[in-house]
């Protein structure tokens, strides 16, 4: 099993997610790797995400190749652009994909999240 994908889902399950509280639903990622397809299920509820390999019928299915998915989670490819390009297919509730795309990494060449010198911070 590919590392970037596993790492991505492992991290997702660990931290408290900055998701709008109203976003609730079940997602499934179908990641094709040659003959094989990996399935990942994400249950999103009240800003919490749980990850598993099986589940009931999802509200939103994301289908793509494993290599494409790896490029997306590691910040080499933009998820929304890939959807528009037809490299990623979404079925069902798009809102869930919109909520989850925020967890994909920033492009590698961009500065890491380094805030500008905030005055609030300086004042304190």
């Amino acid at each position: 099993m590919a590392e970037p994908t596993r790492d991505f889902f492992a991290t997702l399950a660990q931290r408290h997610q900055p998701l709008p509280e109203g976003v609730t639903g079940l997602m499934r990622f179908d990641l094709a790797d040659g003959e094989r397809t990996e399935h990942w299920y994400l249950a999103i509820r009240k800003g919490e995400v749980t990850v598993s390999h099986q589940g009931p019928d999802p509200d939103c299915t994301v289908s793509t190749g494993l290599a494409t998915f790896e490029a997306i989670v590691s910040g080499k490819m933009n998820a929304m652009a890939a959807v528009l390009r037809g490299a990623v297919e979404i079925q069902g509730r798009f809102a869930l994909m919109t909520a989850v795309q925020r967890f994909f990494a920033a492009p590698a060449e961009c500065a890491p999240d380094e805030p500008a010198a905030g005055y609030a911070r300086r004042l304190s």
Binding site: P18, P20, E21, A81, V83, G86, C110, R122
Partner: protein, 704 residues
Amino acid sequence: MSPDVKILDGNTFVVSDDRGDIEASLTDPTGLFSFDTRYLSKWVLTVDGQRLNPLSVDDLQYFETRFFLVPGTGTVYIDAKLSVIRQRAVGGGFHEELTILNHDEKAVDLEVRMEVGCDFADLFEVKDDLKKKGEYYTRIEDGRLVLGYRRETYVRETWISATAACALDEHGLTFSVHVEPNHEWTTDLHVTLGRGVGGQSIAQPKYERHSKKALPYMERSLEKWLDEAPRLTCDWDPLNRTYQRSLVDLAALRFSPVSLPGHYLPAAGLPWFMTMFGRDSIFTSLQALPFTPELAETTLLALGLWQGSRSDDFRDEDPGRILHELRFGEMTAFEERPHSPYYGSVDATPLYVVLLDEYERWTGDTKLVRNLEQTARRALAWIDDYADLQGNGYIAYKRRNEQSGLENQCWKDSWDSISYRDGRLPGFPRATCELQGYAYDAKMRGARLARKVWHDPAYAQRLEKEAAELKRRFNRDFWVEEGQYYAIALEADGSKVDALASNNGHLLWSGIVDKGKAKAVARHLMSPAMYSGWGVRTLSTDESRYNPIGYHVGTVWPFDSSIVAWGLRRYGFKEEAARIAAGILDAAEFFDGRLPEAFGGYPRELTKYPVQYPTACSPQAWSTGAPLLLLRTMLGLEPIGEHLVVDPALPQGIGRLELLDIPGRWGRVDAFGRGRVDVEKRPRRQSQLGVIEDGGKAAKPRKK
């Protein structure tokens, strides 16, 4: 050149000439468009090889139109024995009913031909004349003609079919038609998005012939939409018309985001800006809040879902930032444009918090405020952590995407809009003044929500402390002492960019203006250099760059003026606010109630009518919202606690005004007012608000 005819359904729209034909070149903006992609660039009807001549065009609805045509071209009227009717409705592509009537005593045999073609241009390509990188194909299958375009995994197809028998070839449809005397022949033509965004296929257009259920999702709810809005009655009749026009236009401007099907937010403008824009959607939602609060709810939800989460220079994205614009075309798909989405707006983020609070004050919907708590906190954090590019505690902007990002990320986004009095342009980053006002307001309102809904008094206290500190510094650093107004911007070295601009009115609205300075600011806004008689100029006539037809350097923007009026009200300048409302509402009458994006800054007594600034988009959302906000400011509607306070200050000529069933946390309440504000001494046209007259009942002479 034939005038354009536009019909639309969400972000799907058709622009054709007045014959109903489409003959687009790459740079010509006609065709069938959906999701920012052209699905039809050629659609030309001939009868026996001849083009048709338009007799009339009926715009039935914003999504439906009808063309009456006769054979033969040229200007000479011919006694036609044939007439042709094309009735077209847009939705999921479009549906066209083509009817040919034979008025002759003899039967006729005709060859009817529809020539078709498609370049699958991205809207951005239409603007910039760029060449395509993929391949075209055509196919005939299952009785339909398929026009396609492929570039790697990107595939878009248009499917074309007819209900009558026809011969299909790669360039069109040919009908061999026989029509008996005084009979008619007819066919339905279907144009659908065979392959669209996400590989989705639409095989049937939304409409079917003569089907009552053929009304689109927008139309089905148009009556309900009008029904649910407050009812206005007013002695001054033009306002009734303008109000109705605004409500209907706002209905046409509703846009359902892909992520929230069945919910609507205001798109920016019709037809080219039928997409989610952070700034435009927020401002329009604010203007329309007392009338249609559900627009604000969807705006908050949709923009919240797309809130920035990482540093992405190409998209000018930061964690917590609210998007500027979302697009779906090929150039966005291949990352040749950054709109997936693009975040290069610096005011949308604080304004998001402002809207969230204002929405709660009106509706009492604390559930939404709770659900968006983290979103709002991140937006507030963005102000301090990512927007202080000058390192001096002020919001500023400077694009990181030098190729295709926006240079000016405030609402006055043209290259020359921010200047010194002498015309010099400042460098980047630029901290424009209204941004600091929005930041102040966002903190104050964030504090209110923190205390009332999130139950975090410590956070509220911190925000209030920061806001107070910001206000204190702002009034020191931006104030132009010799002129007695706020500079339009601050440079990184602390220099005041000292032009006098309408941004001062936004500052009043935000509440950042020191009480002691408000009077001087109001006096400037109402001075002959700023107030044209129709509205407030974007830039004072005393500035070097002033130009009465300069986009952001002298024109009057109804949206801008409506915010200025709101600001004047906030500081107690009721009569001044009424004067601005009177000017803008008088202007609206010259455009049949549909205010343009901007009009010339010429003095009212010079031109007598407002000179429209040429623009491709009409109606435009925040111009449509302006009369609504002006109604609010004139009536002095303000939610206080669980109640709606009404404190009218209406122009005299308006007579009696009633706004019934205003929705909010109080259920529905009514507001009444009578015009008492003497807005203008000098006599002008009859029956305009600028004229003192009793009741103001006489109808203004109409343009048409």
